[in-house]
């Protein structure tokens, strides 16, 4: 008697549980892969994991009746390691989606795997516009920014402002060349003039001869088609040379708020750049930034904001689709409008998330009212203008 009652109870309990959860779907697990200790650790790294955690909490912590889990890994900027970890996550650990992944080669490697395994990939960290171009994937979403939108935003907006003569300081490798080429085309297309370019090797310490050439060119804008320490070194040395004081302006083509923080406003002031997110834009971004700072001790970069908002959007899409099946979820990812801290945005067929970008100027120390009060928003660049039109990307799955 008592045995059958227990069984009845157990059966009833399992029915209740089945009702609450989707019968087929196991727990949702996301992986945040980043550079946790190297050069991208500040602008992405542990902050991205925290951002994903915040997204899970804000969503309510559960999906399909199970708690949402997050795992993390340090790819150490090695594409082969990124590939090993991603394979194991997808094949053995039941990870449904990977987030962030700064470093283009690592992100491209994960993109290929995610495509093959029909798993989701939300890229906030990597810059290369190939991720929504010739290497686009039906399950990959390039979220916050890309090289095209940064170059395009800065180039077009500055020419529109009347700064129409440019000179490029370019890192001498594929990334630098393509940044110079893209921006140069935008500048000329907008009626500006590229007066020349000088190329420096990767990891240059001494920029003096390059900066002198840039100065001698007489161009109004010196475009920095480089990244990382090359950018910060060139900005620092340009400040020492008094280039900005002499009337020329520097335009950073790939620069994060953490770089500005590291440089200090004295050095970085008046620098013009494009960003996908600035924490001090409105109440909603300020609120997110304050919560983030409580946990991480710093204001979020656009990558952190990207991981947070993309994770939240992914959860909404999963909930709406009611399944983890790739096509159904991606349909929802594209159909549901993206809520980017109150700003409405959308995900295109090629996986590009299109939203407004901001052209900003770095404040002078006098204008800044405290830590992380660094940017003055000069112009909001509408999404359609900022990002590469879909037809120009040559995304393979659109044509087939």
């Amino acid at each position: 008697m008592s045995l059958s009652r227990t069984m009845l109870f157990a059966a009833a309990a399992s029915f209740v549980m089945l009702g609450a959860a989707n019968a087929e779907e196991g727990p949702v697990r996301i992986g945040v892969m980043s550079d946790m200790s190297g050069l991208y650790a500040d602008l992405s790294g542990p902050g991205s994991v925290e951002a994903a955690q915040m997204a899970i909490e804000d969503f309510g912590g559960e999906l399909f009746g199970h708690p949402i889990e997050v795992v993390q890994a340090d790819h150490q900027n090695r594409a082969d390691l990124a590939s090993t970890v991603a394979r194991e996550w997808f094949d053995d650990d039941g990870v449904d989606a990977i987030f962030d992944v700064p470093n283009s080669s690592a992100a491209l490697a994960v993109q290929e795997l995610a495509r093959e395994r029909e798993k989701f990939f939300f890229i906030s960290g990597a810059a290369t516009s190939r991720l929504s171009g010739d290497s686009c994937s039906p399950t990959g979403v390039h979220w916050m920014y890309d090289t095209y939108s940064l170059a395009n935003g800065t180039g077009r907006a500055l020419v529109a402002e009347g700064a129409d003569t440019w000179f490029f300081l370019t890192a001498d490798y594929a990334f630098g060349h393509s940044l110079e080429e893209d921006t140069g085309a935008v500048v000329e297309g907008a009626g500006g003039e590229v007066m020349g370019a000088v190329r420096h090797p990767l990891d240059t310490q001494d920029f003096s001869s390059y900066l002198l050439q840039a100065q001698a060119s007489g161009a109004e804008i010196i475009g920095l088609a480089n990244a990382g320490t090359d950018t910060t070194n060139s900005i620092r040395q340009a400040a020492e040379f008094g280039i900005v004081e002499a009337g020329q302006r520097l335009a950073g083509l790939l620069l994060f708020i953490t770089d500005v923080h590291a440089l200090g406003l004295d050095t970085a002031q008046d620098l013009v750049l494009t960003t996908g997110f600035y924490w001090d834009r409105d109440d909603q971004t300020r609120d997110f930034a304050a919560r983030f700072e409580e946990r991480m001790g710093m204001r979020p970069t656009m990558i952190h904001a990207g991981v947070y908002s993309s994770a939240l959007h992914f959860f909404k899409a999963l909930e709406e689709a009611g399944t983890k099946e790739a096509d159904a979820v991606m349909q929802q990812v594209r159909d549901i409008p993206v809520d980017l801290f109150g700003e409405e945005a959308m995900v295109r067929e090629d996986g590009r998330m299109v939203h407004d970008m901001y052209l900003v100027r770095v404040k002078s120390p006098d204008e800044s009212e405290g830590d992380w009060d660094y940017y003055e928003i000069l112009r909001t660049i509408p999404g359609d203008e900022a990002f590469r039109p879909m037809e120009e990307g040559d995304c393979p799955h659109l044509t087939n």
Partner: protein
């Protein structure tokens, strides 16, 4: 000594393949191969493949350092160039894996011949610096050459069909393909070390002047070893391409050169199994400590310091001393 002679005579009737090998080693070898055969069913195959690729690379490097006494600090050049050539030829020209692999190994051989010919004129730290300089040239070449894709690397390399017939797409098939490459590489190193050539090499390592006075052209021996080492490094690099389906700048970066030094030293340079143990250790730490972020570099560093301070012969070196048998 007498005991050893006896052991050798034990197996004198064995096959030519294992001529002069003690029975204990043969048994160990068979067990090891059996373990490798079932490993993919227990451990994640991609991980074991990665270990085998790096182990082969470390074996090749150790041939030069441990037996030739030449510390090259630029072995990533051969490993990485081969990876790029294999990735490019397989992806863009549609070559079959075995052809890509051979081209990769030949790339290593060619570069080894050119760089080695120039580098062996120097010894000690100068030799290390010259090889590092060449490796940096290769790095900047890979960074700028259009076909390497700069920092994006060459991605989505198809695993293809072996001999145009056997698909290497399933991890398991690929695993056995890589296993064969690894065993082949190991066998080449094994034979080299135990050949008269290897004996001369060790003599040169111990006392080059004396080897010269005995009438050996030591430069020829060194160059031959250098080329062989570069070729096998190239083979390892080419094999890696099929595992990860990519070739990236990391492969030609000096850190990779440093890692292979670390593997050899940790495992035990001048031993056959040392580089393999070292590769297992380093790759395992790299992969399984990935969730702990910055700790990897710290732990690897700490292990290295402990190793250098307490057992300079490396792990296998210590075991070898204890067993009183060369491993």
């Amino acid at each position: 000594m007498a005991e050893r002679d006896m052991n050798i005579s034990d197996v004198s009737g064995g096959s030519a393949l294992l001529q002069g090998v003690e029975r204990g080693y043969v048994i160990f070898g068979i067990v090891a191969i059996l373990v490798l055969l079932v490993a993919p069913f227990v451990i994640y195959p991609v991980f074991v493949m990665k270990v085998m690729c790096f182990a082969l690379f470390a074996l090749a490097f150790n041939l030069l350092l441990g037996y030739g006494g030449l510390l090259s600090f630029g072995h990533a050049a051969y490993y990485g160039s081969a990876a790029y050539i294999t990735a490019h030829t397989v992806k863009e020209w549609g070559l079959t894996p075995e052809l890509g692999l051979i081209l990769g190994a030949l790339t290593g051989a060619f570069l080894g011949l050119v760089f080695g010919w120039l580098a062996i004129r120097q010894a000690g730290i100068y030799f290390a610096m010259v090889t590092l300089a060449f490796a940096q040239m290769i790095y900047f070449f890979a960074l700028q050459a259009p076909f390497t894709g700069g920092e994006d690397g060459i991605q989505a390399v198809p695993r293809g069909e072996l001999f145009g017939v056997i698909s290497l797409r399933p991890d398991l098939t690929l695993y056995y393909f890589i296993l064969v490459i690894f065993l082949f590489g190991f066998y080449v190193v094994f034979r080299t070390v135990h050949s008269p050539f290897g004996q001369v090499l060790k003599a040169i390592r111990e006392n080059e002047q004396r080897a010269i006075s005995l009438g050996y052209r030591t430069d020829h021996y060194k160059l031959a070893t250098f080329v062989l080492s570069a070729t096998l490094s190239g083979l390892a690099g080419a094999a890696t391409v099929f595992v990860f389906q990519l070739a990236s700048l990391t492969y030609v970066h000096w850190q990779t050169s440093g890692e292979v030094v670390l593997m050899s030293l940790l495992g035990g340079m001048g031993t056959l199994l040392g580089p393999i143990v070292g590769a297992i250790l380093v790759v395992t730490l790299q992969t399984y400590l990935a969730p702990f972020g910055a700790w990897i570099t710290i732990i690897l560093g700490a292990i290295f310091v402990v190793c250098v301070l307490t057992f300079r012969e490396g792990i296998v070196g210590v075991v070898q001393k204890y067993l009183k048998k060369p491993l």
